[in-house]
């Protein structure tokens, strides 16, 4: 979070307010396009090995060079976009849904439910984020689905706290009283009248959360607990290339740049959206 805040301050000096949203949209949109078109755009098969052409430096045929198995790094970066975008989207979606639901219920009902949810949040927050995630993945076994489950179990707390705070304020508002006076039930009021008003903060946060999830996914894969080789994923690629960093810098550098670019895209999107919706996270 601290990193995103620093980035935000830096961004405001370089890019004017309105354009952050469009710049972010453009970058993320571009990556989405790349992910969709990867099978047709990538010049080589991302996992086909060709030992005869291993560790080639960037050239016309291999713009990003090849790795130690002779795989085309450019094709692998393009294919990697599919996996990494999926990680971003699903890794944010599950905590978002779980967190907003629990946060809304907790804020609206108060009392025992609220106390219970808040104490669980305290427990989750008591552990360092990555340590808790690694522990859960270690229990469930390495793989992407474990990563998503761990993400949901750890990441929901931020959303729950954001939404709970909003609901606590909003449930005192007059239009909730008006809805009550029309004979609407609590569930209808909570999910149809309160939640849509309480979500802006969570939506803005989810964009900057994409950055964290992307970096987490890459770190977890780097540690060998997330995406498994030979699947093309940026974190895995950085991990595999690091032993060649002195002789073949391109294996780690290009996926690294891809991570930074996508992260920047989401950051700009979060900032722009925050400005637009008048919401600061």
């Amino acid at each position: 979070m601290k990193m995103t805040a620093t980035f935000s301050r830096l961004r405001q000096r370089i890019i004017p307010r309105q354009q952050a949203l469009y710049a972010g949209l453009a970058i993320v949109g571009l990556w989405l396009l790349v992910a969709c078109l990867a099978p047709w755009v990538a010049p080589f098969d991302p996992i086909a090995q060709d030992v005869s052409s291993s560790l080639l430096s960037p050239s016309g045929a291999h713009p990003f060079g090849t790795d130690n198995f002779g795989r085309d790094v450019f094709s692998r970066v393009l294919w990697g976009a599919r996996v990494d975008l999926q990680i971003c989207i699903l890794g944010v979606l599950f905590p978002f849904m779980l967190g907003t639901t629990l946060g809304a219920l907790s804020g609206y009902s108060g009392g025992v439910v609220d106390t219970l949810v808040m104490r669980v949040i305290d427990i989750v927050l008591a552990f360092p984020f990555l340590v808790l995630m690694l522990a859960i993945i270690a229990i469930l076994g390495p793989g992407l689905s474990s990563f998503y489950i761990a993400m949901a179990m750890v990441g929901w707390v931020s959303y729950a706290r954001l939404v709970r705070a909003q609901v606590l304020i909003l449930k005192q508002r007059d239009f909730i009283l008006a809805a009550r006076s029309l004979g609407y039930g609590h569930l209808r009021i909570l999910f149809r009248h309160l939640l849509p008003n309480a979500l802006t903060g969570a939506i803005v946060f989810s964009m900057s959360d994409c950055v964290m999830v992307l970096l987490n996914g890459a770190s977890v894969s780097y540690l060998g607990l997330g995406v498994q080789p030979p699947t093309a994923e940026w974190g895995v690629m950085v991990a595999e290339g690091q032993s060649f960093i002195t002789t073949a810098w391109w294996i780690t550098t290009f996926p690294g740049i891809a991570i930074v670019l996508l992260a920047m895209g989401f950051s700009l999107l979060a900032d722009g959206l925050g400005d637009k919706l008048g919401e600061r996270v």
């Binding site: 239009f175 009550r180 029309l182 004979g183 609407y184 039930g185």
Partner: protein, 326 residues
């Protein structure tokens, strides 16, 4: 049988502070009752108690009954009560901009209760919403359906809120200072609209207000509240022409007179009582000109001379009258 009969309704805060003390009212179908009083006199709490939507925790209905069509709604379960809210008793509020959901279109907000209370399908509910917007006099209702509350002007928002409240077709409408936030010309339009709707739909209305002028223009009967108690109730003409209670007299004297710009506005000396320090006996006695030792006892509601409908709670009923009754 009266549409609504409130008997000895009492709402307390904490242990023993009665914000609404022993209030009894009755309302016929199609009748308009003006509930008048200063801020803090308990008029809003009374009406919220009728909906069982008391503001704030710590407020409880501790006594009395509220008979709606002969059925005591204070004894209903919470589930049965949500079928009464909206459907039988509707409510409109002082500040329409904060009582409409900012992220739903006006059309959706009207249609929602059509769908919930009448099981109308999406298209039918939309058509009902259109008809309602037209009925409350919103121009160009077809396009206005898709507008959000912030795209409406203040007067239009009040009309929209009335449409939302009317959608479940209530028989009783509680209007909590519906015109206070509006400027004078719009005020008149909204009051006229409420009058028209009442004639068209046979709607009974309780109009909460602190403005006797509004009551004089629109209501059939007046109930005056002071310090959580009813101090005078009766037919509008009788109450305004021959007030029995010194407080009502004071309120009437406080109305600015339109002819001429001379003279000072009359006021009632002192401050209205705060709930934590209600005076004993008659709660108006510290500000009352004709108070004496008798006023340290709580006065009962007594009928005035020659009347079975006009009553006041005072030991010194104003005109030279006094025909003692319970």
């Amino acid at each position: 049988m009266s549409l609504l009969k409130v008997n000895h309704l009492t709402v307390t805060r904490g242990e023993d502070i009665a914000l609404v003390d022993n209030v009894s009212l009755s309302l016929e179908a199609g009748e308009m009752l003006g509930l008048v009083g200063e801020s803090g006199s308990g008029k809003t709490v009374t009406c919220r108690a009728l909906m069982r939507l008391l503001p704030g925790a710590g407020l409880r209905i501790t006594g009395g009954e509220v008979l709606l069509g002969g059925r005591d709604i204070l004894s209903l379960s919470e589930g049965q009560m949500s079928a009464v809210r909206g459907r039988e008793i509707g409510m409109i509020f002082q500040n329409p901009s904060s009582h409409l959901n900012p992220v739903m279109t006006i059309g959706e907000q009207i249609a929602e209760s059509r769908r919930l209370h009448f099981g109308a399908n999406r298209r039918q509910a939309r058509e009902d919403a259109l008809a309602l917007l037209r009925q409350v006099g919103v121009p160009d209702p077809q396009n206005r359906l898709n507008n959000y509350p912030h795209e409406f002007s203040g007067g239009m928002r009040q009309r929209a809120m009335i449409a939302v409240a009317l959608a479940p077709e209530p028989t009783l409408l509680i209007a909590d200072e519906p015109t206070t936030a509006l400027d004078v010309t719009v005020q008149m339009q909204i009051l006229r609209l409420l009058g028209d709707l009442r004639a068209e739909l046979g709607l009974a209305v309780i109009m909460i207000t602190h403005d006797l002028g509004i009551v004089a223009q629109t209501c059939d009967r007046i109930a005056v509240m002071y310090g959580g108690r009813l101090c005078e109730v009766g037919d509008k003409r009788e109450v305004l022409a021959e007030p029995l209670h010194p407080y009502t007299r004071g309120l009437i004297d406080c109305q600015p007179v339109s002819e001429g710009g001379q003279g000072r506005l009359t006021t009632i000396d002192g401050q209205p009582p705060v709930a934590d320090h209600f005076p004993s006996g008659c709660r108006f006695h510290p500000r009352c000109g004709s108070a004496d030792e008798a006023c340290l006892d709580q006065p009962l509601l007594r009928y005035g001379r020659d009347s079975h409908s006009h009553a006041a709670a005072c030991h010194h009923l104003l005109p030279t009258l006094i025909r003692r009754e319970g």
